[in-house]
């Protein structure tokens, strides 16, 4: 499949890059990193235009993120009545809202490029947890610009080694994502084992 996609980038141009980044941001298994590196390499060799390649990759990624975010918002709206009725899911949603409110912006930014395998799931989570559209979009744009610049730039700079570079980068981002998830779960386990003590209610003053 990868060979076919690479041929398609050569023959059909940047539209294939648009589709690839779009679907990768919806968690579909497409080799977006390799194709973006290839896009950068084709810019270096003069097969693609730099501006068109950048715009296509960025538009695809942002459109994919927006689709995931808005879809999660809609699903949350439909299910909110159901969730409110169940105390467990209600408190889980409340926790997710507090967490997203505090960490949603940087979470969106870093999951675009540094922990990119987590990106699509972060879109669904913050969309369902009620993070505002404008806030999501600003962090998303900044993160995706970083992602596209890094991958196209690396493809441009190491044009003759894109396949080995892609394998290496894919592995590094997989490692970082797995590490973040491990740390988060480790933290949750620690809390489960040693729950934080509840603050004692202040002693009421006697008249």
């Amino acid at each position: 499949m990868t060979e076919t996609l690479l041929s398609l980038v050569a023959e059909q141009g940047v539209f294939i890059l648009f589709l690839t980044t779009f679907f990768s941001c919806l968690a579909l298994p497409v080799p977006a990193s390799l194709l973006m590196l290839t896009g950068g390499a084709f810019v270096a060799s003069g097969d693609l235009s730099a501006a068109e390649t950048f715009v296509a990759c960025l538009l695809g990624a942002v459109a994919g993120d927006q689709t995931g975010f808005l879809l999660a918002q809609q699903i949350e709206k439909r299910l909110s009545g159901f969730l409110e009725k169940h105390p467990d899911s209600k408190s889980a949603m409340a926790k997710a809202r507090v967490f997203s409110e505090r960490w949603g912006g940087p979470g969106v930014f870093f999951s675009r490029w540094l922990f990119s395998p987590l990106g699509p799931y972060v879109n669904f989570t913050v969309g369902a947890a009620g993070v505002g559209w404008l806030r999501f979009t600003i962090w998303d744009l900044l993160g995706e610009i970083t992602w596209v610049c890094i991958y196209l730039g690396l493809g441009f700079s190491f044009a003759n080694q894109i396949e080995s570079l892609s394998a290496l980068l894919g592995n590094i981002s997989g490692l970082l994502a797995a590490l973040v998830v491990t740390m988060a779960l480790g933290f949750a386990l620690r809390r489960a084992l040693h729950p934080p003590k509840k603050a004692k209610p202040a002693a009421s003053k006697r008249p």
């Binding site: 041929s7 050569a10 060799s45 003069g46 693609l48 290496l168 592995n171 797995a178 491990t182 084992l193």
Partner: protein
């Protein structure tokens, strides 16, 4: 520690399984990173062989050869078009990838002299 694990297994089984899986994945990627680094540290493995998906310009660029020169060596007339792949050229000119690689090596040798 064993008592703690027992407690987690009894009360938070799903969380413990998820954590173990995540640990395993982290170790897996870390081991792969070490293997990749060792593999690509060998200069012989950094060579990118020709493939059908490669456009002519890209193949020439990655071998440090002028695309125009490579095109004329392959028997193509005029400047090479954008996105013209080696697969298409192979069909049109009746050449194999090995023959194209030989021609590229020849040009690279000429250029270095």
């Amino acid at each position: 520690m064993i008592a703690g694990l027992q407690q987690l297994w009894n009360k938070h089984r799903l969380l413990l399984i998820a954590f173990s899986l995540a640990c395993f994945l982290t170790l897996f990627f870390a081991a792969r990173l070490v293997m990749f680094s060792l593999y690509w540290a060998n200069p012989q493995h950094q060579f990118q062989p020709l493939a059908e998906w490669m456009p002519l310009r890209y193949a020439a660029y990655s071998w440090g050869v002028k695309p125009q020169e490579f095109a004329s060596e392959l028997g193509l007339k005029g400047p090479p078009g954008r996105g013209l792949t080696l697969g298409e050229i192979a069909q049109r000119q009746g050449l194999t990838l090995e023959q194209m690689a030989e021609k590229l090596q020849e040009i690279a040798r000429r250029q270095s002299q």
